[in-house]
Point group: T
Chain length 149, copies 12
């Protein structure tokens, strides 16, 4: 069975806990539950991890090697500064889908730069929590394509 790691970076643990009238009440737990449920429905084993520590995210990517078939990565702020995450992804040679809740290309200039992009297969951003579902579909399709080659 295909196994996917959904990996979330700094500050994403706070989702839904502040100003629900503005940002909505969806929490990270809700997102992770939705990912698991969508995985169940589409034949994917989904496991989730979140950390505010750059090194812990690097460790998690290393640990996925040989265990997971692909990663959905919302690296949060580390997207824009972490060469270490970039190198970690390149090292484990797993397909990674880069994900952002907001449209980072429409925000401040320093958020346009991504160290994840050069080692990811693709990027989805701007669709909020629904983006995780799209990312699972995109990754599953990518893995099917590779299998059928």
């Amino acid at each position: 069975m295909t196994s996917i790691l959904v990996l979330n970076g700094p500050n994403l643990n706070l989702l839904g806990q502040r100003q629900p009238e503005v940002y909505g009440s969806t929490t990270l737990a809700d997102i992770e539950a939705a990912c698991t449920a969508h995985g169940d429905a589409s034949g994917l084993s989904v496991s989730c991890f979140q950390s505010n520590h750059e090194g812990a995210l690097v460790d998690a990517i290393h640990a996925a090697k040989g265990v997971r078939d692909g990663i959905i990565l919302n690296a949060g702020a580390y997207t824009h500064t972490s060469v270490a995450l970039m190198d970690a992804i390149a090292s484990v040679e797993l397909p990674v889908v880069e994900l952002h809740l907001s449209n980072i290309h429409a925000r401040e200039a320093f958020r346009h730069k991504s160290y994840i992009a050069p080692v990811a297969i693709g990027q989805i951003c701007g669709f909020g929590a629904h983006g995780y579902i799209l990312a699972l579909d995109a990754l599953r399709q990518h893995l099917l394509g590779r299998t059928s080659e």
Copy 2:
């Protein structure tokens, strides 16, 4: 019934016509047919247009105002140079999903710049033809969310 315009820009008419052993044999017609079929299956009326002319794309966006509910735009090379397309989208006030077949953030530096992004709701790139299906799903979900507000 929700109506979506799938708009493709320069050089995309050549898809699948050259080196099918390399780029695959999917043509623009195939993509447009898949979009229409996926639309039928998910309650969307999909219509498609392609042009190599920047002005013709601006005209098409203008014409969508009041007729379509949203646009999926693969602006091709004009993504990186066209302030006119950016202004056209801003003028018609329709939700636009930016789409690219390849992961533009992993290619040449001049392809990292997008004039579409600041006026789009989100971006999907790197998933080939399957990206159009993801974009339709993303746009439908976005429109559902707005309706339910």
Copy 3:
């Protein structure tokens, strides 16, 4: 009788058609009518053209050579990207007044750059539709000055 071409670029055809409570209800037709009327009152033959196509604007500038005495050009978004329009103006050697509805120097940085400016006699921006009347006065005065030399 002095003859002037009022040339408008991409997206200006949409003026007044959206959110009139915000942007006002002045349409491009209103502006063109006001230009013609002001021309009649001040001894200028005014003709107008608008296109969303960069090439069509280049063609229009070429066609003005030997037929018009000067051009008022609101190149819209092409102001910031079109070397072709710049070269077209230099080729026909007609006096051009650069015009913008908004104060482009107070907007995004990429709108501060004008390829039209180096080949224009002057620039008027920020005065809305009234700017066209000011531009006609400025161009008429410029042509009078040249005639009297």
Copy 4:
């Protein structure tokens, strides 16, 4: 009666005093007289001030608060370097029309930058002494528009 301050910055006191066969014989006194006359003819009370001192120009802008209805400002070389003038305009909250005798966008690169533009309603440049008349018309129209709201 509407009252307008015509404010001129460094070196503009020398206008018309050197090489009249090249630059014309129009002096600053001529321009100020023309402004006053045009004001009389169009119902504007026009007063004029020139200084080579940045601080004196800041003082003049301060003094206009509550006394004038708007300012026509040719800040000369301070246009490109003076954050203090920018802040002064922002402080007094009077409408300012930015004016330049020459087309600054067609000159050296450092003259393309304007600290006045972000706090001005619009800019007129390249039309020589006639630009002041255009600026008075533009400002009067702007004030009329505000009154009629």
Copy 5:
């Protein structure tokens, strides 16, 4: 009672332990004691935390939400590189005073850039250990101001 977190970042644990004849003998413990004492004298409950780990600092900011009324943050070297700390502060919506022992604007160019500044209420730098006392006074005054609104 108003509660303040004094948060120190990488390398600040070494204060006073090296070259006391050069940098003085004030240790981080001395600073934290002085902060607590000054808090006692001025009606503030002060607690302190230091870490060399970016993620641990993010965690500490998260944990302050709903528990502290404000934060004094000397982010050390992470000031110049951490988008994650910037986002953490924005997430918890607590007032933050940015503090540096040295005048960072008089040092190397890369230390002039602060990711903390855009989400802080103000910055104090260059006054050594005494800066913490000034920061407590500034934050208390800020909180009083908000309360009185």
Copy 6:
């Protein structure tokens, strides 16, 4: 028989029509006739096309695929701004010789940048109308070399 497309971009239709005492009286028709004649003399079938429209040039390059053996392209001002032309050339996989009448590297800085160069086999510039003859010779030699491999 080897077939070559000579493709000219914006403003080149005006060649020889203005200031012949300055720029010479050679028109685009003269150049195209000289190309055809030189082609006849050297065993090349030469056809010519000019347009001021970026999209029309893209279309012409697409249409050359499978019909022409190579292209001589003077893209005029689009050389410096058109990613779409760059992508079109890459798509049709025909050898392209980049040509400019003037020495673009000795002109304004923005004319030093060429989007055509990375997808062209070589560049000839600065030799006026004679450059087209040199380009035909260069392209013929290139095609002979490929044939002989």
Copy 7:
């Protein structure tokens, strides 16, 4: 008795005179009175000066040499452009505390640059009028430290 000059630059004379419902009603006179009172309470002789003229501020710094023990300088807009003020401070060798009412590092990019910082002992910004009191405390502490060496 320790003597301090509180020096304010361009536009600060307008404080509290506009939009008191937005910016508060604190005037420069209020600030200067608070500084004097705080000085009296803490054993400092405080005198104040404001000018919109860069040269007058340079003169004031020169005049402080041998008369004052230190300077609190809010250079306003000249902070970002005045090499002359920077050189003046370096010449008189008095300790200077740089002060800004707003957090300049959270505003436009051109306000992040300070010519005062390299010759100041420290910077306080973002705390409004209260910043002057903090600055007096910081400077007094700095002078005490020097005396005790």
Copy 8:
């Protein structure tokens, strides 16, 4: 006996575990064993540490103060982003040799920048695992030189 810390940063724990036919089968354990053996042979006590966590590396450098005589640091990706590591090295005042397996100056531009270099005595890169042996020799020689002064 001279004591050296060999410190390795993010992703170096994966050495030799992937694609041994490409990158060779040398693991980090092999490198650390070789360092220890070379140390034994040349009179150096060598201890080793690796972490993917930036903060843990800062801690390790702090802990080396007073315990080790020098450090060989392969900071991996943190080389290019970590001001905190730079400051940590400056704080402990131990001689550091900067080491990289690959020639970082021949790779992507963002890898040319090193925050370690300004506080290191020298740099060795491009010699693979053998570089560690060279670095030990370089550091021993450096320490001998200092001792003999």
Copy 9:
């Protein structure tokens, strides 16, 4: 008789008044006396002026027109920021020799930029007070050359 203005800018009035053991005891009065004496000896009428006010320097340059034959200008810090002084020199069309006491090209980068240079005949820097004598010789020679043409 040839008449020369020696014009000194901000902070130069402080020369020789501080730390004579470091900077020497030469005052501005000494320099001006030496200039006058050297002028007497070489047939030049020398007058001197110093101001800390940018506007006063602009005024002095204006006043020199028709009265002096040339100017020796040490613009101090305004060298690097004043477009107004640049324009003033261009306006009066007098030969100007740019002078600096120190070698500005060997100091901070922002002092390498001179707005005076493009409108000066030449520059002398790095020779201390003796530079004024060299500048007088250079200007006299320049004027002799022009006279003899």
Copy 10:
């Protein structure tokens, strides 16, 4: 009889001596022989010189003055760094055709910059050894044109 110098710069002496299966077996001697032969056939006296020394190339350009009618210059790597060659060409006032074997505009960014271009009549690149023949034709045509004026 028209006399042409074919001047080759650093490393071009190695042509054809390494990896003939990759770069072809054409040596510099072959190219020089082809140039001489083509010169004989078209009425040009061709002489050739190569050096790896920048100064020797400058000397050769000086020596050509009054002896040659024009120069074909492949400056190799000095193209991108030598202001001295640029000045030498400007000094001797001979027409120079800039030549490169490869298409330098499609290679690394630092090879796009040419100090030769601003003082050359035109540039030919990307056509390998055949480029020399094209350059001879271009230069002969250029000289014919000048003669016929």
Copy 11:
């Protein structure tokens, strides 16, 4: 027997001849003798050459082709400016170790740029004369590795 060229560039002939109390008394002759001795001890034939002439260094690299097995290159100041040396190394296809006496990455910014690095196998810097011994070891190991493949 393996043969190595030790190549030194401009100004290195002066080593040890000036201020021996500061820079040490090691001369270039000492270094070359140490290299030869170390070569003898480790089975390498070492020959040495130094020149202040860029062209002479290019010649020496050319001459090493087919004669030497590798080069140790301290290009001195030409490291930062010479594309010609870069191309020469690429042409002869010999392994090159880049060497610098000082840690160039800790010096002025213009010394961080190396044209040698992209064509070298590795870089050693900051270890003074001992660096040559390290470089010989590194090169020998590299050649052994290649032989054993």
Copy 12:
């Protein structure tokens, strides 16, 4: 007796040999003769050298060590590109006066950069051949000052 080397770089051997009606008829021999004569008159032994070779200029600077008391250096085009000359001057520790015939700061931007300036005592430019005389006076005065210390 004080001994001075007057050192001239590339292309200066051509002075006075081309277009004497434009550039004057002063040759390098004339300048060198004038330098010698002025030296004789002011107690300086002057010797002269010119080369187009960067390496030869480096050699000449080396040779001056211990033989000359100072150098007047017109490095011509190498001023802007030669780190080697910069290092050579730093190595020999002789006072150097940088000289240029033209005002390099009023020419192209790439001529504003000088690698000589940071190691020279001062710069004289823009005064043509007379600049050499001024430079001799400046250097003599500098040497006198050092002697009298």
